[in-house]
């Protein structure tokens, strides 16, 4: 099996190289003097599951609506299967979309909802019932064909919306946070369900969410957006382990930022001093190099920090710092300590402790030591 090693990290996709299903080129969307989408470009291979992740107002929905054809970009070009769709109205694009509020038709039954796109797209009337039945089965709602929408539970309505968006076998499936309104357990169940259906049908999918867990769980690729700009486009593991900037590092996972100024730069490492504490970390940006005296911040994830009563327990770690426990939060499978570090100008960091036999080993006020490895500290320009 060929592996695409393009060298361009943001385009590196494992697996067979399909044809490009969606191509977004320098797309901008300006409302008045507000730039909701700022020079967005990306390619999506056929059959892939892409998640656009970003905080509220970052332009995710706007980008999705432009791909669906509800809004025309101020500038830039969108192509689906290689064909520019600038002047193609939504009903002439082969796109199934699931909306945030689902937008099911309340005056129709579940089956009529699913049959709607087939009728509008003039499928052979004789094949419609079988096709509707097939897709209701796909979403495990075979027995609910004649229910009205308001007679279905939230999760069942989600499934009908999915079936309706997929039944005409669109080239592209768009999901605009359809799970946001569900409770956590149902949401996680539906995420896996989306993944299963997507794999089963092999339909190219763009999913929008501000739930980082969902993005990591279901996606082949993640685009992180902030303030209308694409911050990173990479595989989930890369998004997590090699964030391209401090926004991505802070948005995904629980990340501690340690501000300081650069003292020394070697090939791969940056030494910097935060308060009175000398620290060391990896410089992430490849295009610019830090210079001595520059303000930087080191990002270190809560799960990469260990906490112990004495420094000798942390011997294997390159950096150890003394601190005092401010707060202890019991979260079931782990304990979160908030630790204040005097030598870092009283910066408070968060540390996960997964050791199940020693839950909440420390109490608030305890004097402790925290430690981490230099390679787990990612250094970004301030």
């Amino acid at each position: 099996m060929a592996v695409a090693e393009t060298g361009l990290d943001r385009l590196a996709v494992e697996g067979p190289v399909g044809s490009t299903a969606v191509s977004v080129r320098n797309v901008n969307m300006v409302f008045g003097d507000y730039r909701a989408v700022d020079d967005a470009s990306f390619d999506l291979q056929e059959g892939k599951f892409l998640t656009i992740l970003g905080p509220s107002g970052s332009g995710k929905t706007t980008l999705l609506r432009m791909i669906a054809g509800f809004q025309a970009p101020t500038s830039g070009e969108i192509a689906i299967n290689g064909i520019p769709v600038g002047h193609v109205p939504p009903n002439k694009r082969s796109i199934g979309m699931v909306f945030q509020k689902l937008a099911l038709f309340p005056h129709m039954t579940a089956a009529q909802n699913v049959a709607f796109p087939l009728k509008m797209r003039r499928f052979d009337a004789r094949t419609i019932p079988a096709r509707v039945a097939k897709y209701l089965d796909l979403v495990k709602l075979g027995g609910f064909a004649n229910r009205r929408i308001h007679e279905l539970s939230g999760g069942q309505q989600q499934r009908i919306a999915i079936a309706r968006a997929l039944v005409f076998e669109p080239d592209l499936l768009l999901l605009d946070e359809p799970l946001a309104a569900l409770d956590r357990k149902l949401r996680e169940e539906m995420q896996l369900e989306f993944r299963r259906i997507q794999r089963e049908l092999g339909v190219t999918t763009i999913n929008v969410t501000h739930d980082q867990r969902e993005a990591l769980v279901v996606s082949d690729e993640i685009i992180v957006m902030d303030k209308g700009r694409i911050q990173q486009n990479a595989k989930p593991s890369a998004t997590y382990r090699q964030p391209s900037n401090s926004f991505v590092a802070g948005f995904i996972g629980v990340t501690n930022f340690l501000s300081g100024s650069v003292t020394d730069v070697t090939d791969s490492e940056v030494a910097f001093i935060a308060g009175t504490q000398p620290l060391c970390g990896r410089w992430v940006a490849t295009d610019v190099r830090p210079s001595a005296g520059q303000s930087v911040k080191g990002a270190v994830r809560a799960e990469q920090i260990r906490v112990a009563a004495t420094p000798d327990r942390l011997d294997d770690l390159q950096t150890t710092v003394a601190g005092s426990v401010m707060d202890v939060i019991f979260e079931g499978e782990r304990v979160v300590y908030e630790v204040r570090l005097a030598s870092l100008q009283d910066a408070t960091i968060r540390v996960f402790d997964h050791d199940p036999s020693q839950h909440a080993e420390f109490e608030a006020g305890a004097r402790v030591f925290v430690g981490w490895n230099a390679r787990d500290v990612l250094v970004f320009a301030e």
Partner: protein, 310 residues
């Protein structure tokens, strides 16, 4: 002590006062107390209706101009058999149906544009145009149409410049229907606008992305989802135009009487209160039947009464 906003403290005082006058355990009857004025009003009307019913059973003695002491069904026989009244009834019913249909057809695009337009200025203009007629009043407006459509009215003046006309544009049936539609349009728009507002824009977008063009979206999504508004607006327009007096009187010039005009004539021209009362009762019965039929056909649920559907 924290300083709470003045309104909160006022409400606290009111609540303690209320508790003294009207203890909480009586709260169960509060809704009924609130209904009381309405019940009283309807009750008075029903009493009046008994009076009317009594009158409808007495015939007019044409020699003494007094109502008979004894009861008879003579008035009903006359009302249901005389061609004059049959003519009036047909005119009113056919008219109210045509007016209802035409008004709904015209009101929906108006309501739709008013709700959906992205231009705040256009929405404002449409709203003002909608409410302005309410300040003018029905009679003044009908006279306005006389001025515009009369033999020497604006329209015929303009036509005479082109060398055609004059046409008789008033004192005929179409003129009455036209006047009624013009009068009813704001009511219908006002009742349809909330129904259109209740349709999420996302639902229309969904229909589009599923392959429907805008006509199909309108027919398969907007129309059915606006149904509660249609039923409500249709009922209001139909009953109002069925019972209208001023427009048929003024734009019909006495030749295009609706039922209300016939009742007026009986009470105040021929002074046959018995026959007038009979016609009034028949109108109430016919109107109620019409409403009952609509409810039976589409169900009261479509007015979104009872438990709201999600």
């Amino acid at each position: 002590m924290r300083a709470y906003p003045l309104t909160w403290r006022l409400l606290d005082v009111l609540e303690t006062g209320l508790e003294k006058v009207f203890p909480r355990r009586l709260a169960g009857i509060t809704p009924y107390l609130m209904l009381a004025p309405a019940v009283l009003l309807v009750g008075l009307l029903v009493l009046g209706l008994f009076q009317v019913a009594d009158g409808s059973l007495r015939t007019l003695d044409t020699t003494t101009f007094l109502m008979s002491e004894s009861y008879s069904l003579d008035n009903f026989r006359r009302a249901l058999s005389e061609p004059l009244f049959r003519n009036v009834a047909v005119k009113s019913f056919a008219g109210s149906l045509i007016v209802t249909a035409m008004t709904l057809v015209l009101a929906l695009p108006y309501a739709y544009v008013m709700v959906r337009t992205k231009s705040a200025a256009l929405r404002k203009i449409l709203l003002i145009a909608l409410f302005l007629p309410f300040f003018i009043g029905q009679v003044v407006r009908a006279y306005g149409w006389l001025i515009i459509l009369g033999n020497q009215g604006l329209v015929n003046e303009a036509l005479s410049f082109l060398g055609i006309g004059p046409f008789r544009l008033i004192y005929n049936y179409p003129a009455v229907l036209f006047g009624l539609i013009q009068y009813m349009l704001p009511f219908a728009v006002l009742m349809l606008a909330p129904a259109v507002t209740a349709i999420p824009e996302e639902t229309e977008a969904a229909a589009e992305s599923l392959g429907a063009n805008w006509i199909q979206t309108f027919i398969h999504v907007v129309l059915p989802m606006a149904r509660p508004g249609f039923v409500g607006a249709g009922l209001v327009v139909m009953t109002l135009s069925l019972t209208d007096f001023a427009i048929p009187a003024i734009l019909g010039g006495g030749s295009q009487d609706f039922i209300a005009n016939a009742i007026y004539d009986q009470f105040f021209r021929t002074s046959d209160q018995g026959l007038g009362a009979t016609l009034a009762l028949l109108l109430v019965a016919a109107g109620s039947t019409l409403v009952a039929i609509v409810f039976a056909l589409v169900g009261t649920g479509t007015l979104q009464m009872g438990r709201a559907k999600q």
